[in-house]
């Protein structure tokens, strides 16, 4: 077990190093210049060259890379060119909306997908099953930002029940900020529920056909217990996997949804940083996102242990 954890940790370091290197190289070979963006449309070539020199962008790629690696090893992700604050602070500022957006979206997705998926599998071929499968297909093919725009149009513009965009002004309470997350969380939750529903249904169908389910029934175990305890618990591993992957995708920033709703989350930060070529922010954010992906996958593997005693590492 300890050996497994150490292996995973080593793998994580390798992944981080690769991500760091690939992102660094891709950014430097992609056209675009943070100095030109910062100085604005009327800046002269000389102004741009001077700013590039101040930012250290006139150094060779090798020098910049070694300097950056050194920084990261010291736990410093650098300074945002545009925000003029440490990248770590910029990311921490964006953590709250992204974390709660992820959490609410996952809760909404699970509340929709798990019971419907279980019931659809249990009543295979019924009207509910067919309707759930069709709706899941529909939800999976809708882009979350489009659903977000529709929700915005109806609930924010027409009914004026929710704000169109933003995350609360100065002095806003926690509840107020969460209120701003309602529409984007519903949009992301509904779209994410499609995949979870399909996995839940498929996994439950596999398990419901197993011998031990038939045995449980023949022993006279009540049906609810057969489905929820015997079947669902055994169907959990693929469901946990898809829940984890969904969480990883959401936490890395539901980029377009955050932009559409003007939420100051990680996705929004990455988009603005890419448009401005704020290299330290892009590098830092992608490094943290990669770390989260790896950690979430690791956490899911650990959860398997709790869910299925047969799993051994």
């Amino acid at each position: 077990m300890i050996r497994y954890i150490l292996q995973r940790l080593f793998g994580m370091i390798v992944v981080m190093f690769l991500v760091l290197t690939i992102v660094f190289v891709i950014l430097r070979v992609t056209p675009g210049d943070p100095a030109a963006v910062m100085l604005g449309p009327d800046a002269t070539a000389q102004d741009i060259a001077e700013l590039r020199s101040r930012l250290g962008l006139d150094q060779s790629l090798g020098v910049q890379y070694v300097y950056y690696i050194g920084q990261v090893l010291r736990g410093d992700l650098g300074q945002s060119i545009f925000l003029n604050i440490p990248v770590t602070s910029a990311l921490l500022d964006r953590a709250e909306p992204t974390f709660f957006l992820t959490l609410f979206s996952l809760v909404i997705a699970s509340v929709i997908a798990l019971p419907v998926g279980i019931y659809a599998a249990y009543r295979r071929g019924s009207f509910v099953d067919q309707a759930a499968t069709t709706l899941a297909m529909l939800a999976a093919s809708i882009p979350s930002f489009w659903l977000g725009l529709i929700l915005m149009q109806f609930f924010a513009v027409r009914l004026n029940l929710f704000p169109v965009s933003g995350y609360g002004g100065p002095g806003s309470t926690f509840l107020d900020r969460m209120y701003h997350l309602t529409l984007p969380a519903v949009a992301l939750g509904v779209v994410s529920s499609a995949l979870i529903l399909r996995f839940t249904r498929a996994s439950m169908l596999d398990v419901l056909g197993e011998d031990y389910i038939r045995t449980a029934r023949s022993k006279g175990v009540i049906e609810r217990r057969v489905v929820l305890k015997h079947a669902f618990k055994n169907a959990l591993i693929p469901i946990l996997t898809v829940l984890g992957l969904t969480a990883a995708v959401l936490v890395s920033g539901a980029v377009v949804t955050e932009t559409v709703f003007g939420l100051p989350g990680v996705g929004n930060l990455v988009v603005s940083a890419v448009l401005r070529r704020d290299y330290p922010v892009i590098q830092g954010a992608l490094l943290v996102i990669a770390a989260l992906y790896v950690l979430i996958n690791f956490a899911i593997d650990m959860l398997y242990l709790a869910v299925d005693p047969r799993v051994r590492y």
Partner: protein, 508 residues
């Protein structure tokens, strides 16, 4: 009876305004902007968004009035200019306080102007002409020039790449203390969430009513919050729902929808600016002026503007670089050179000029959708004329980098608001991408910038415009309007290229 009613109503209207329409103090407004400004140091950027936000925090010696004439702001009056045009004596207003409650004096102004000439693009433009900037006494600053340079006061008045006045001891670069003399001070900035400005109680306004960016600044509002809403559709929805008090930069096609909103109304700035196609005059196919002329001959400005802005409610065809509402408006050089739309003749002219099918590389971006639409139409007309077109659609950051490389492009699309002083037009500079540098340019631009007499300058600008048309440094496509939206309760906000809110208030 009708006469009596009309008389009574007329009398009532003359009595009512002072009580009914008086602006009241108090309230907070939320202003939706197109994004997060790249910096809050207005010296460090020419971006409009930087100017829009920071003009409330920082002030310049001069600014522009409603008629785009330079008017004093932190200066007591317009500068006294010596007969040879080389010495500018600037008397400062007294009793002006910074947001840290220290008094502004000439030492602060000298330190700030020195920072400006070293850091700001527009400041560097002036730096070569400046011999010295000195504090003559605590409330007087003298700028001595090596040679006359007429755009100086306009450059001192501009709100981006701006000659803002900071405390002498707070001149750090990058800026760390955002201490200005403006009517509002920075309370909190949460990037991508809001920039919160609060009323500066120590502010000393000029006397009288507001006059464009000049005149009195009355600080009716307690707070102004700038909130980035980068998605244009979201800005439209936010305007219709009434979530924000002012919403900047609304797509023109949403104008009718805003008219139907119960809480907001559209605000149109007519005209706002002009799109241009800038030529690379230094390298590539467009280096040949005859080929540039052939390209201009092929283009149909009407189709380009219609594709970009939809309806003539939002654009006008106009070859004069400045529209009729500006003193600089002239038709010099325009006749026979604007909206010719003759691809056939253009093709023949290009061949005669030695064009052999080399690709014309048009650099454009979808950051501004109208740039892209105009580029598409232009590309089709050029193809009709027999040109090979390589339309390169990139993001704005890539465009700003590529256009700096003479070897990478032939035409790029951009736009500008109508700047109050033509000398501020970036493409007139020989170092600006396009690199227009001909004897005709030098003679006309140098004469224009050296002349200090306002009337003579108007005549000299006509020569510059003619030189632009003769050399085809760039092609003006037309005039376009800008649409914003404001709450029906928001008063005291006039359409402006860089909207300002120091005289805004909320109707109770």
């Amino acid at each position: 009876m009708r006469m009596i009613t009309a008389l009574l109503m007329g009398t009532a209207l003359t009595i009512l305004p002072s009580s009914l329409f008086a602006q009241e103090k108090g309230g907070v407004i939320n202003v939706a902007t197109i994004g997060e400004p790249p910096t809050l140091d207005p010296m460090a950027s020419t971006a409009d968004l930087v100017g829009i936000v920071t003009q409330h925090i920082f002030e310049t010696l001069y600014t522009f009035d409603k008629g785009w004439k330079v008017t004093p702001l932190l200066a007591e009056a317009l500068p006294e200019i010596s007969a040879d045009g080389k010495t500018y004596t600037i008397k400062l207003r007294t009793g002006i306080k910074f947001h840290d409650n220290t008094d502004m004096n000439s030492e602060d102004v000298v330190a700030s102007l020195n920072r400006w000439t070293k850091l700001a693009s527009r400041g560097k433009q002036v730096a070569g002409f400046i011999d010295s900037i000195t504090a003559t006494d605590p409330s007087t600053v003298t700028i001595t020039l090596k040679q006359p340079y007429a755009p100086l006061t306009s450059l001192l008045a501009f709100n981006n790449s701006a000659a803002i006045i900071l405390p002498a001891e707070k001149q750090a670069e990058p800026m760390t203390d955002f201490i200005g003399t403006g009517p509002y001070m920075l309370k909190e900035r949460k990037a991508d969430q809001y920039i919160q400005l609060t009323r500066f109680d120590g502010y000393k306004s000029r006397e009288g009513a507001g006059d464009g960016y000049g005149g009195g600044r009355h600080q009716y509002l307690d707070e102004i919050r700038f909130v980035p809403v980068p998605d244009p559709n979201t800005r439209v929805e936010a305007a219709v729902s009434g979530q924000y008090d002012y919403i900047d930069s609304i797509p023109v096609e949403s104008y009718a929808r805003l008219q139907g909103s119960s809480s907001s109304e559209p605000v149109m700035l007519k005209p706002f600016g002009y799109p241009i196609s800038v030529f690379n005059t230094a390298e590539g196919s467009a280096k040949n002026v005859e080929i540039r002329r052939a390209i201009r001959q092929a283009l149909n400005m009407e189709d380009m503007m219609a594709a970009a802005f939809g309806s003539t409610d939002f654009y006008a065809l106009d070859g004069n670089i400045y529209p009729a509402s500006f003193v600089w408006s002239t038709d010099a050089g325009v006749a026979g050179n604007y909206n010719v739309a003759d691809p056939e003749a253009a093709g023949a002219a290009a061949k005669a000029a030695g064009y052999k099918g080399e690709p014309i590389r048009i650099l454009t971006s979808r950051q501004y959708e109208f740039h892209y639409k105009m580029a598409q139409v232009a590309a089709e007309y050029l193809k009709l004329a027999g040109f090979t077109v390589d339309l390169q659609v990139v993001d704005w950051a890539t465009l700003t980098q590529r256009r700096a490389d003479k070897g990478l492009w032939d035409i790029y699309i951009t736009h500008s608001p109508f700047l109050p002083e033509p000398a501020l037009i970036g493409t007139l500079s020989t170092s600006s991408p396009g690199w227009w540098d001909t004897p005709e340019r030098d003679a006309s631009v140098d004469a224009f910038t050296a002349e200090v007499d306002p009337e003579k300058r108007v005549a000299l600008w006509a020569n510059v415009q003619k030189a632009i048309y003769d050399d085809v440094a760039f092609i003006k496509i037309g005039d376009f309007n800008a649409v914003a939206a404001k709450s029906k309760k928001l008063q005291g906000v006039d359409p402006a290229p860089w909207p300002y809110f120091w005289n805004a208030s909320i109707a109770k």
